[in-house]
């Protein structure tokens, strides 16, 4: 049986090697799309960033001036600062909710799969849709949160949640946690379930308390999963746009302009396409650095299992 199999295999293999270019035909459509709509745009972004590039009219080579301008652009720097602030806060909030949820739905028991599914539901709707839904819920006159607080007697009059920075920021954080926590929960759950049950059992028999087991067993063993969930959350937050554009249009006193929002404004509102490209390259560099940090984090996880 195996003998005949290997006999038919060897001419096959020879034939395949001879028609080595045939494989390229199969991957050609995918390569064409990736080159046309990804590789070329990336190179083109770099090229554009070295130009003064208005929407209409001629383009002019200006070397690194766009990059110099970037470092003196107070609005860009504050967009960076706001994005960093948002990323830190929202990541902490997501983990603070998703980790307990993952532990909550870890054990197989009645209705657990129902809980998992319901918690996950907001993940599959769009961020734009979720933003729209919550901007209505948070509306001062026609929404749900403010009027409900008033009806319950917790507030004298319905608070305008999106009017001040702090309350608008809090509303957006709650919306994003509602939308994303299910996703992070499932990622963390895969890590939790990969921990061998006899290990926890052994620790329990050795007299390790619940917190000790979590701190010295669960957390170290989940290092890789946590790193992954962390990276997904951080990169996603750095690229945030929809929620600020839809919910607060940049926020009270323009204080909620994220980096992507600022690039959008420069490129498609002010039509400084060259400067927008330079900002994009900066964003790209930030994310590539983060990817390298990610690889490093994952590697560290492997070294110390």
């Amino acid at each position: 049986m195996t003998g005949s199999g290997s006999k038919t295999l060897s001419p096959q293999r020879k034939r395949r090697r001879r028609s080595g270019w045939r494989g390229l035909v199969y991957i050609a459509p995918a390569m064409a799309l990736v080159i046309l709509f990804f590789v070329m745009p990336v190179i083109f972004t770099g090229w554009m960033s070295l130009h003064n590039w208005p929407l209409m009219g001629g383009t002019r080579w200006i070397g690194l001036k766009n990059y110099v301008r970037m470092f003196h652009d107070a609005r860009f720097l504050s967009a960076l600062q706001f994005t960093a602030y948002y990323t830190v806060i929202v990541t902490i909030a997501i983990f603070a909710v998703a980790f307990p949820l993952a532990i909550f739905v870890e054990k197989q028991r009645r209705f657990v799969s129902v809980y998992r599914t319901i918690i996950f539901l907001p993940v599959v709707v769009g961020l734009a849709t979720a933003s729209l839904l919550w901007v209505w819920l948070a509306n001062v006159d026609s929404g749900f949160v403010g009027p409900a607080l008033k009806a319950l007697g917790l507030a004298d009059k319905s608070p305008n949640l999106l009017a001040t920075f702090d309350s608008a920021f809090l509303t957006i954080i709650i919306m994003v946690v509602w939308k994303i926590a299910g996703f992070t929960m499932i990622i963390l759950l895969t890590g939790l379930q990969a921990i061998p049950a006899d290990l926890t059992e052994a620790a329990r028999i050795d007299g390790a308390g619940r917190w000790q087991r979590f701190r010295y067993l669960t957390l170290p063993l989940m290092r890789k999963t946590i790193a992954l969930a962390l990276i997904i959350s951080v990169t996603g937050s750095i690229l945030a746009f929809d929620q600020f554009y839809i919910m607060t249009s940049g926020g009270p006193q323009n204080r909620m302009i994220s980096v992507v929002y600022y690039i959008f404004n420069q490129s498609f509102v002010s039509f400084n396409l060259g400067y927008g490209a330079a900002l994009s390259i900066a964003l790209l560099a930030i994310l590539v650095v983060l990817s390298i940090v990610q690889l490093w984090l994952l590697r560290v996880g492997e070294e110390r299992p």
């Binding site: 046309l36 809980y115 599959v124 769009g126 729209l132 749900f144 992507v260 396409l273």
Partner: protein
């Protein structure tokens, strides 16, 4: 005496377990309420009378009888809700079909053939995951214009397909890797070649992978906002999320919240249905992404 003691301690333990169980499910229900409530409130509120649309949803259900006023007022925005729903459906379904076709071929090529630069090209496709598409929107806009595909649903679809490729090619290559080579060899001996072999023999075997790729392509295309906002410029081409910006902006400073509720319902329901029907394949894709 001793038996009574044992049974009472047993009872106590059972009662404790019962109470813990009750507390667990009470917490479960409270958590589910938080995650479900926004959907439920919006769906219910969207069926209130037009006169109620401005009022807070307290209670959220219609008190003056059911009405589709909100959906009718949504229809007065842009080129009508049907047009925009069809736009969104066209883009999403075309994205699904093209993504499946392209990644099926590429997955097969990467799994079964050897050719020059194979690994380099595979890494190139996967590496595009590292680069956020938000940073290349300006050149995309210009390249599409050069190709005569600006402000077209086809252009938007091609961009969406490209964005889906890293994940999809990866999924499909793994799907083909899992198919034993013997099946292919047997089919080859029976005279099936190349595309016929792929479609007739292998396609049914990688269907789960295709389902996963298709669900992600559909949901991402249906939900995407920023690229559609930038690449579509004329009113009648807008997909649903872009249309909703006009609704959100309102008219004469007044937002029609009934239309917002109806729009959220229209955008949400297809996602929830697709997810609930095909949850198994969705989760498979998520796990595959998480492991790698």
């Amino acid at each position: 005496m001793t038996t009574a003691k044992v049974s009472s301690s047993k009872q106590r333990r059972a009662r404790k377990a019962f109470r813990a169980n009750g507390a667990y499910h009470a917490a479960g229900i409270a958590i589910c309420l938080f995650f479900l409530a926004p959907f439920v409130i919006t769906f219910l509120a969207s069926f209130r009378h037009g006169t109620e649309a401005r009022l807070p949803p307290l209670p959220p259900w219609p008190t003056n009888g059911l009405s589709i006023d909100s959906y009718l007022s949504l229809d007065t925005f842009g080129a009508g809700i049907w047009q925009h729903t069809i736009n969104s459906l066209l883009v999403s379904l075309a994205t699904v079909v093209l993504t499946v076709a392209v990644s099926l071929l590429a997955g097969y090529g990467f799994s079964r053939y050897r050719f020059p630069l194979k690994n380099v090209l595979f890494v190139l496709i996967i590496a595009t995951l590292m680069i956020p598409f938000q940073s290349i929107l300006t050149p995309l806009f210009i390249i599409l214009a050069k190709l005569g595909l600006n402000n077209s649903l086809l252009g938007l679809t091609l961009v969406y397909v490209t964005l889906q490729l890293p994940f999809s090619v990866f999924m499909m290559r793994n799907a083909f890797d899992a198919v034993p080579k013997e099946i292919e060899e047997a089919a080859r001996i029976d005279g099936a070649r190349d595309l016929r072999l792929l479609v007739r023999v292998l396609l049914p075997l990688v269907l789960p992978g295709i389902a996963t790729v298709a669900i992600f392509a559909f949901l991402n295309a249906w939900n995407e906002f920023l690229a559609a906002l930038i690449l579509l410029s004329s009113n009648e081409k807008y997909t649903l999320p872009v249309l909703m910006m006009a609704v959100r902006a309102g008219r004469l400073g007044a937002v029609n919240w009934g239309a917002v509720q109806a729009g959220v319902a229209v955008m949400t329901v297809p996602c929830l249905i697709v997810f609930l029907l095909l949850q198994r394949y969705y989760m498979r894709g998520l796990m595959a992404g998480a492991v790698k």
